[in-house]
Amino acid sequence: MMRTATTWWAVVLLLLSALSLASSLGAGSQGWEWPWQMQAVGDAVQAQIMWDIRLPRSLGAWLAGALLGLSGAVAQGLFRNPLADPYLLGSASGASLGVSAYMGAWGGSLTATGLATRFGMTGAAFAGAVLAVLLTLILARGVHQTLRLLLAGVVVGVVLGAVTSLATLLHPEALLAMQGFLLGSTAFVGWSASATMALALLLCMVLALVMARVLDALALGESTARSLGMPLGTARVVLIAVLSLATGAAVAQTGLIAFVGLAAPHAVRSRVHITHAGLLFLSALMGGLLLLAADLLARSAVPAQELPVGVFTSVLGGVYLLWRMRVTHHGKHS
């Protein structure tokens, strides 16, 4: 029965994503129009705009959202904390530091299209994210104390953010690129970036699904999970790697986009009660849909102008979580 619910929601989320994707193809600098209504320029140019700019960008927005949604669901399950997300554990700040270090050392930029550069930036983001999460875990002395964990995550996030800002100041030529990066934007995502994210998503999803049962068992507490014969040590290493790679891959292509990783699993949980296999899968689809929809809004809300999608998700995500808090508070029976 629950498998049916998961399938049903997957179909709905995919359909909505496809609809958003189709709509986003018409979102251009002149406001929004259906693709077939575009007549101002020649066919070849139109085709190029559609296939080389808008499609990879929208696909990239969906993929980045899916990566963030997946990494949020993994973080919440692994740390048994509904507030855990890629940002609160410092992994996003670590990833952005990794990217800026890469840019400083090898001169890549957000607009780079070479697959090698994309892989390099993703690798740097992954390394930065892993280091940041490990630093958070060391400072928090493990995952047992939620408050310590979240505080350590905030400290690591702030400190690494400051180091990133400093690095940017020392390399003024990278300032503009880093600015767009820190605000979070899908504007620079091309085919190579999309391909990188697709590969990362596939890998992360497979690994996360293999470990889904450990996350289920952890929901009943660490001792119970251990007593059920779960390989907790291995699972932690794999899941922290998944969390870091998913966050790193998204951050390396689109910069810092807040709240998707936190809101997507919450949105799924508020609708269906399923085990982690379904939850991880649906959180990715939900994250993809959320970021694609936010990107569409950011591109078409103000005609001839584009708002950074990161600003948009921050505002929308914040409002959504406040609303969820209210609903949960009122809905709670004593």
């Binding site: 952890l218 009943l220 007593s227 059920l228 014969g229 009660h273 399923i274 085990t275």
Partner: protein, 263 residues
Amino acid sequence: MSSSQLLAIQAKDLCVSLGGREVLHRMNLEVSAGQWTCVVGPNGAGKSTLLKALAGLISAQGQVHWLGVDVRQIERRERARQLSWLGQGEVAMLDLRVCDAVMLGRLPHQDWLAAPRAHDHAMVQAALEATQAWAWRDRTLGELSGGERQRVLLARAMAGNAALMLMDEPLANLDPPHQVDWLEQVHCLRAQGTTVVSVLHEIGMALHADRIVVMQSGRVVHAGAASDAQTHHAIELVFNERVRIVPLQGQWVVLPNMQGNRA
């Protein structure tokens, strides 16, 4: 205890330190197979730590044997099939559905990525029916009261069908009728040959066990039959004689003793 009786759990020179402080001091303990053993003692006596150490859930010095085999030599999943654990206050994610939570008890019997089989579903249903929780199978843990959730978690522990079952304060949040239900379930488990070890604060319930282990300050001060006068005396002593155990209509009951020494 006769030496011919099979030992389900045996601890030798067991020492456990938590946060740099030794909580259990060179403990020795024997639990007979097919019996219900209760661990009692004041707060901070090390009861829960002992139970975790016996379950192999925390690192300890010394030896723990299950059915004569050193726990460290038993493979992780085989351990999970042999021993079922019911902890206290551990649930972290309350949006898990009841049937999914109880199915987790079948994990040690399932292949890593395989879906639950008909037998697993049957075991889950039987366990939920035994704890009268079947009606809530589609609810989430968060939608249940503390006592209802405790019955679901007991069903989860029973679904594994393990030969050894360790429970840490399983009566927490249960109202009196459901405490009696729990008692019946334990008798039922014992009748099926399951060895049950439980930490209980409810001395009156503990007196229904076969054997009682009395603990104080990280040591076993007495272990004996639950009906034995010496056991009763040991319990009264570790609780500073603030309780008295008296016979009533063929059962032992615990009464508060206002004249006892304050700790």
